[in-house]
């Protein structure tokens, strides 16, 4: 770890805060150019904040986003891009929902049943990510390309399985198709939030646990050290006896397993069945959140909360006559400007370090000084 000095803390915060301010300015400019009032927008979002329901929903979204971000961050730590969190999460949520809702599960005790659902989701997520790992270590196929393909294949597979003839059934009274509803014995009870009818997902504790484990494994175990070492310098890791292929397989499997958890809070906490209304694109939100939080367990939690807050207050914008997509624009600008800002800060640090070294070494004598 780098030593904590006021200067390094300031530099560390400069990038994310700067990016947020920049994104705010860009969005204000876009709103002003298109004839909408930025003040009205902020006003509408602030009004929404006063509703407890918005906050409860924001926390729930953040739980999901945090899990997705951790899944992505495990890969990032060793320079693996798991773009496939999206597909892994949907395959896992779908299949584990089918398992949890199956009739033979109703006899199983609640705790065991929930555990089985979660383990099944982790296994499915890991297996789907494992395909990409296998292609990478045996055939050298870039995980970016293979997971993009696997995401799309997952989309079609899920829509194939989500059919009344297979794993799904039509919901009575609506045209929504969903897996068989998980009855009370398989659900995770929510936590009441004061003043709101929506409850906070009980599985928020799972997200916290995953965050703690992520921190522990990365900073306190040999495996975590080898993971980071591989990410920092592949050749140095190989030289010190790390089997990079093994690390790729392990980290992809773990990343996939965490990706499998992404759908669990919503599945066991509010939907109780996998339906087509499960949000797509969570894997990409995970990438954004992991970037903004710099793969740090606490940083990602803060940025997941920010993301969840932005998404849930956006709902109030359409009512105010402002397209809610301004929030999507803002999120995109945040991602782009935060990574650009990190790079600029890094370059600044390198230059500052070089100058410091130069000062410490002193000035070399010029030719005239030597000869005189």
């Amino acid at each position: 770890m780098r030593k904590l000095s006021p200067r390094s803390v300031l530099l560390g915060l400069a990038a994310p805060v700067g990016a947020l301010v920049f994104a705010l300015l860009v969005c204000a400019a876009i709103l002003a150019l298109t004839g909408k009032s930025p003040a009205d927008t902020i006003d509408a979002m602030a009004t929404a904040t006063q509703r407890p329901r918005t906050i409860a929903n924001s926390i729930n979204s953040a739980t999901t986003y945090y899990l997705a971000a951790v899944a992505v961050a495990i890969g990032f730590k060793m320079k693996l891009f798991n773009i496939g969190v999206d597909g892994q999460y949907r395959m896992a949520a779908m299949l584990s929902a089918a398992l949890a809702g199956a009739t033979f599960m109703s006899g199983v005790p609640q705790f065991l049943r929930i555990a089985m659902t979660i383990v099944a989701a982790m296994l499915v997520g890991a297996a789907w990510a494992g395909l990409a790992a296998l292609l990478k270590v045996t055939r050298g196929v870039s995980e970016v390309i293979s997971t993009i393909m696997l995401n799309a294949i997952a989309t079609y597979l899920v829509s194939y399985l989500l059919n009344p003839a297979r794993l799904a059934q039509a919901t009575a009274g609506s045209n929504n198709i969903s897996t068989r509803r998980i009855d009370a014995g398989g659900q995770v009870p929510g936590l009441p939030y004061p003043g709101s009818t929506s409850k906070v997902f009980g599985l928020i504790f799972l997200a916290v646990l995953v965050g703690v484990l992520y921190w522990f494994v990365l900073s306190r175990t040999r495996f975590g050290f080898e993971l980071k070492a591989t990410g920092l310098s592949e050749s140095a890791a190989v030289a010190s006896g790390v089997s990079v292929k093994r690390m790729v397989v392990y980290s992809m499997l773990i990343s996939g397993a965490v990706a499998g958890l992404v759908g669990m809070p919503q599945l066991l906490g509010s939907s109780y069945g996998y339906a087509l209304d499960f949000p797509p694109g969570l894997g990409f939100i995970g990438i954004a959140v992991a970037l903004l939080g710099r793969n740090h367990p606490v940083g990602m939690a803060v940025s997941a909360l920010l993301w969840g807050y932005l998404d849930n207050t956006a709902n109030s914008l359409d009512v105010a006559g402002i397209p809610r997509e301004i929030v999507a624009i803002m999120q995109g600008v945040i991602v782009l400007s935060v990574v650009a800002a990190y790079e600029l800060v890094r370059r600044y640090r390198v230059r500052a370090e070089q100058q410091e070294v130069g000062r410490a070494l002193g000035r070399t004598k010029t030719l005239e000084e030597v000869s005189s």
Partner: protein, 418 residues
């Protein structure tokens, strides 16, 4: 393929210039493919396999894919991986919708292209100037562009006559041309159902009847790309930035400039692809691209980072798309085709000494064959996955023949080359 990241497991094919296949071999392969198609048509009775209607639909579906693939080609040849293609296509569809309904299809095409260029420039600023990782920038563009398009669509299309929050008013289609006389002659031959001859007639009729001028433009652009990138000094310099930017720099090539130009071209073609999509379907709709940017990327990989190859890939994927649209019976025959193709791959791999790969390919081939003979139809939900499955199979089973630009995806800063 060497997208930043880890080098583990990578084996790069040697550039064997001596084994370039002549055009005649390609022609022979095309004829052989058509023979196989007509055999399968006779066996399965799926006349739609080679009908003019299918070929026409395939052509329409293939053009946006080819444009997306071309956009990927320009970017990767200059060393920048562009997975923001999807987002740039979305910008193109919006641009075409916005200008198209007011000033006609050609204005739509130009406007879509310009909006694509905006996306490409954004990618260039992020990756070249600010040194942002290419994948991250691409992901950000894919988040940003659909949001921006929908934002603008709500602003400008909601009150327009015939428009809505998520769709533009109608755009008139681009003019279409038919070669007079030939078309009806070919239709007569096609109706005879002769082995091979009728199939050939069907394919030719599809290619010469009611062809949109936009399709012709796409063909011109692909041929033009092949010429510019492989036959001009400009193209050589651009490709050198993708193979070895440090070497290019040492020879006085302004790598930043070429990367910028390549990304402008990349954005333009992606925007063009989006515009084709909007104009040929008559309007802009939210979510219209439906992952076509990624299929374009797949087509480029399938085509081994070459214009002819990516056109073939786009044609193939467009063909599956068209089959899916035209009902399941013909799609079922595709299973058999895929099985045959896998067995061919198995034989080729066995002859070049890769027993294990050959075994895997053969097993998969037999599996697809078994699937074909044991069922009567393919579930329609699964047909759309075909391009992705095929690309994974190509990557997994024939990766040693692929040769991506060596420095694609790797960061480059002036004066810090290795």
């Amino acid at each position: 393929m060497s997208v930043g990241g880890l080098a583990v497991g990578l084996e790069v094919a040697p550039a064997d210039r001596g084994k370039r296949l002549s055009p005649w071999v390609y022609a022979l392969v095309a004829v052989a493919a058509l023979v196989v198609l007509s055999v399968v048509r006779l066996l399965s009775g799926a006349t739609d396999l080679t009908s003019a209607g299918t070929v026409q639909a395939a052509l329409t579906a293939a053009v946006p894919l080819a444009m997306a693939g071309l956009a990927g080609l320009w970017a990767e040849r200059a060393g920048v991986v562009n997975i923001g293609l999807e987002g740039m296509m979305v910008l193109g569809t919006f641009g075409a919708g916005y200008a198209g309904y007011q000033w006609g299809p050609w204005a739509g095409v130009v406007f879509g292209l310009l909006l694509g260029v905006v996306g490409g420039l954004l990618h260039a600023v992020a990756t070249v100037t600010f040194g942002v990782d290419h994948i991250i920038s691409g992901v950000a563009i894919n988040l940003l562009a659909p949001g921006a398009a929908l934002f603008l669509s709500k602003l400008y299309f909601s009150d327009a006559p015939g428009g809505g929050q998520k769709q533009s008013p109608r755009i008139s289609d681009a003019p279409k041309v038919t070669i007079p006389g030939l078309s009806s002659l070919l239709a007569d031959i096609e109706a005879k159902r002769w082995f091979f001859v009728s199939d050939l007639a069907g394919v030719l009729r599809g290619l010469t009847t009611e062809v949109s001028l936009l399709t012709l433009l796409a063909v011109l652009v692909i041929v033009g790309t092949a010429w510019v990138l492989w036959r001009t000094p400009f193209g050589l310099r651009l490709r050198s930035c993708g193979e070895s930017p440090a070497a290019a720099e040492s020879l006085g090539v302004n790598v930043y400039k070429y990367k910028y130009l390549a990304l402008v071209a990349s954005g333009a073609f992606a925007g063009l692809g989006g515009a084709f999509l909007a104009v040929s379907s008559g309007q802009y709709r939210d979510g219209q691209t439906g992952g076509r940017g990624f299929i374009g990327l797949a087509a480029m990989i399938f085509g081994n980072w070459r214009p002819g190859g990516l056109a073939t890939g786009a044609g193939l994927f467009g063909y599956t798309d068209a089959m899916a649209l035209r009902g399941s019976s013909a799609v079922h025959a595709l299973l058999l085709l895929l099985g045959i193709a896998l067995v061919v791959v198995a034989v080729i791999q066995y002859r070049s000494g890769h027993q294990l790969l050959s075994g895997v390919a053969a097993a998969l081939g037999v599996l697809f064959g078994y699937w074909y003979f044991s069922t009567d139809e393919v579930p329609p939900e699964l047909v759309g996955a075909a391009p992705y499955v095929v690309t994974l199979l190509v990557l997994g089973l024939a990766a040693q023949r692929l040769r991506p630009p060596r420095h694609a995806g790797e960061p480059y800063r002036r004066g810090q080359g290795v």
